[in-house]
C-alpha cells in the first residue's frame, strides 16, 4: 500500500517516434525531481499498441515528431490511446504536450491546402499550417499561478499556428519569440491538468518551477500537495542565461 502511494509514474507517449529533439530531457527532469523528493519514480513507454497501465500514470508526456513519425502515431492515438487518456485526465492525471503532441491534442490540424486532420479534442485549440517557420529563443511571462520565477524559457521551431478557444487559456504571453501563432502574443495553453506548448529546449530542465508545478498538480489528486524545495541554482542559472541573452534583442523591438 505504502509502496504504491510512494510511486510516481510518467507515461511517455510514443517515445520511439515522438522524440524529435531531446524531449527526453523533460522525462528525465520529471523523474529526477520526483526521485529527489523520495518518490519511487519510473517512466513507462506508451508506444504503438500499448495502453496498459495508463490509469496509473501521474504525468503523461507527448512530444513532437517528424511528419513521417507523426503520421504513424495518428491512428494509434485515436484508436487506442484517446479513451484511456481522457479517463486518466478526468481523474486528475496531468499532461504535458510539446509541439506536435500539442497540436494532436487539439480539435484539428489544417494543412495549407485546407485539409483537416482531426485531433482528439482534449484541449480547446486548433492549428493551421503557416508559411514561415518560427525558429528561435522564446521568453514567456507565464500566466499560471504559483510559479517562481514567473518566466519560462525555451526554443521554438514550428510552422503551425495554434489558436485557443474559450475553454483553454494561454500558458503565458511571449516577451521574445512567436509563441502560438505569432499574432496574438500568446504561447501554449492550460486547460485543467493539460499543458500544451511549443517550447523545446528541453523545456523542463531550464524551467524547474514548471516541472514542479506539474508534479505538484499530479500528486494533489492523491492528497500529496507539498513538495520539498530543492536546490535549483544550476537550473535557474541556465534559465537566467537565456533571459540575459534575450534582453537586448527584446529591447530592440
Amino acid at each position: 500500500m505504502t509502496k504504491k502511494k510512494n510511486r510516481f509514474t510518467v507515461g511517455w507517449l510514443y517515445p520511439d517516434l515522438m522524440n524529435i529533439y531531446g524531449d527526453r530531457g523533460n522525462i528525465l527532469t520529471l523523474l529526477k525531481r520526483a526521485e529527489w523528493r523520495g518518490l519511487d519514480a519510473r517512466a513507462i513507454d506508451l508506444g504503438r499498441g500499448a495502453a496498459h497501465g495508463m490509469e496509473d500514470v501521474d504525468i503523461f508526456f507527448f512530444g513532437g515528431g517528424q511528419d513521417r513519425e507523426q503520421a504513424l502515431v495518428y491512428d494509434d492515438l485515436i484508436e487506442i490511446k484517446q479513451e484511456p487518456l481522457e479517463a486518466a485526465v478526468a481523474h486528475g492525471s496531468v499532461v504535458l504536450a510539446v509541439c506536435g503532441g500539442y497540436q494532436l491534442l487539439g480539435h484539428y490540424y489544417q494543412t495549407a491546402e485546407g485539409e483537416r486532420f482531426p485531433g482528439i479534442g482534449l484541449i480547446d485549440v486548433r492549428t493551421e499550417a503557416g508559411k514561415k517557420r518560427f525558429i528561435g529563443d522564446v521568453v514567456v511571462d507565464a500566466t499560471i499561478e504559483g510559479i517562481d520565477p514567473s518566466t519560462l524559457v525555451g526554443f521554438e521551431n514550428h510552422s503551425g499556428r495554434t489558436f485557443l478557444g474559450a475553454g483553454a487559456r494561454p500558458l503565458g504571453r511571449v516577451r521574445l519569440g512567436s509563441g502560438n501563432n505569432g499574432s496574438d502574443g500568446t504561447e501554449g495553453c492550460v486547460q485543467g491538468g493539460v499543458v500544451g506548448t511549443y517550447l523545446h529546449g528541453s523545456l523542463l530542465p531550464k524551467n524547474p518551477h514548471l516541472a514542479d508545478y506539474l508534479i505538484r498538480r499530479a500528486l494533489s489528486r492523491r492528497g500529496m500537495a507539498e513538495l520539498v524545495p530543492l536546490d535549483d541554482s544550476i537550473e535557474l542559472a541556465a534559465h537566467a542565461k537565456i533571459l540575459q541573452r534575450a534582453q537586448p534583442r527584446a529591447g530592440e523591438r
Partner: protein
Amino acid sequence: MRRTAAVWAGKATGALSRLSGRGGGTTLPGDVARAIDPTVLRKLTGDLTEGSIVITGTNGKTTTARLLTSIFEGMGKRVVSNRAGANLIFGATAAALRSAGPDGRLRADWGVFEIDEASLPRAVEEIQPRIAIVLNLFRDQLDRYGELEKIAKTIEAALESIPEGAQAVLNADDPRVGEIGLALARTPLWFGIEDPEVAMRKLPHAADARTCPKCGASLRFSAVYLGHEGVYECPNGDFARPAPGVAATHIVLDGFDSVAMNIGETRLELPVGGLYNAYNALAAFAAGMVLGVDGQYMAERMHGFKAAFGRQEKMDFRGRHLVLVLSKNPAGFNETLRTAVDMAGATHFILGLNDRKADGTDVSWIWDVDFEQLAGKAEVVVPAGTRAHDLAVRLKYAGVEARPPQTEPGRALDDLISVTPEGATAHT
C-alpha cells in the same frame, strides 16, 4: 574566354579575402566565379584526367575525403579537394579554382569532394562523379526539424542521376541509407560492419530512423554499432539491411589511438580511433576497390594517415596530455564519450557546447546524449562554451558532478588544468 575570366576573377577574390583575413578564401571565390560563368565547375572538373568522387553524409565526410586523397596522392596523382566544411557547391568550385592554371584549365587527376546532403543533386549534375559515397544520415544539431525525410529523397534523386557506369557506394548499416539505396534502379555497392564483438545490444537514445519505410513498424536490430547504424530488419519481413559487399570484420578498438579491422583478405590499421573512423576507412576502401586499387596498398596509406584537423587531435599543454575531439551531433558525441570512457579510460573532461547563431540555437539534442556513461567514471568535468550552463544542467540530471560552467574557453582550460595532475590525460 568567359571561363578564363571566371577562373581569374575567382582566384583574385581568393587572394584578396585571404589577405584581408576574412573567411580564409574558402568559398567566396566560388561565388564570384559562378556569377561570371555558372558552368565553371562543370568545365573545370571535365578537365580531370581520372574523374571525381563525391562524398556525402552527416558524419565523416572530411576524414573519408582525406583518406581517399591520401590514397591517390600516394599513387602520384594530383588531387583537387575542397576544404573541410566548405561543402556547398561554392566550396567545391573554389577548390577547383585553386588548382586551375592561368589558361583556366584544371591541372589535376582526381577530384575528391565532400558535399553537403542538400547540395548533392547539383554537385552530381555539375561534377559528373565516377563514385558517389553516402556515409550516414544522422539527425543533426542543426535546426532542421522534420527535414531528414526531404534530405533522403534529395539524395535518392541525386544517386539516380549519377552518370552511366558510375557507382554508388553506400553504408548498408544505416537504415535511411539502406532505404535510399534499395530504391535505386542500379545496384549500389554496400559496405558495413560484420562484427558482433563491437556491437551494442540496444539502440541508444540518440538513435533515429527506426521505422520500416514500407509498413511503418519499428525496426528490429540484432546488432547496433553506432547511433542507429547496425544490422536491422522489419519484423514483417519487407525491409532489411542489405548484405554488405565490402565488410569490416575482426575489429580491434584501442581508444582514440587506433582502430584495426579486416576487409576481405586485407588487415587495415588506422592510427585514429573510434568506430566512426572504421566506417570512414571502410567507405574509402570500398571506393578504392571499385577503382581497382590494390587493397594492401590502401592499408599501407591509411596506416600513415593523420586525422583531419579539429576532429581529433592530441597535444601536450602545461605538462598534461590533451585529446581534442569534435562532435556535431548526439550520435557522434555518444561514440566519442564511449571511446573516451570505456576504451581510453579518460577521467578528466572539458565538455564544450557553443551556439552557432546570435538568435539562439536549439541545444535540446544534448538530452539525447548519454552523459550518464560519465557518472561514477569521470573525476573532473568542466562544462564550457557559450551554452555551458545548459550542459551543467544536463550533467546534473545525468548524475555527473561537474565544475561550475565556464563560458570563456581559456577559463575552462585553466580550471581543468588546476585539477588535473601533471602527466595526466584530459579530454576536451
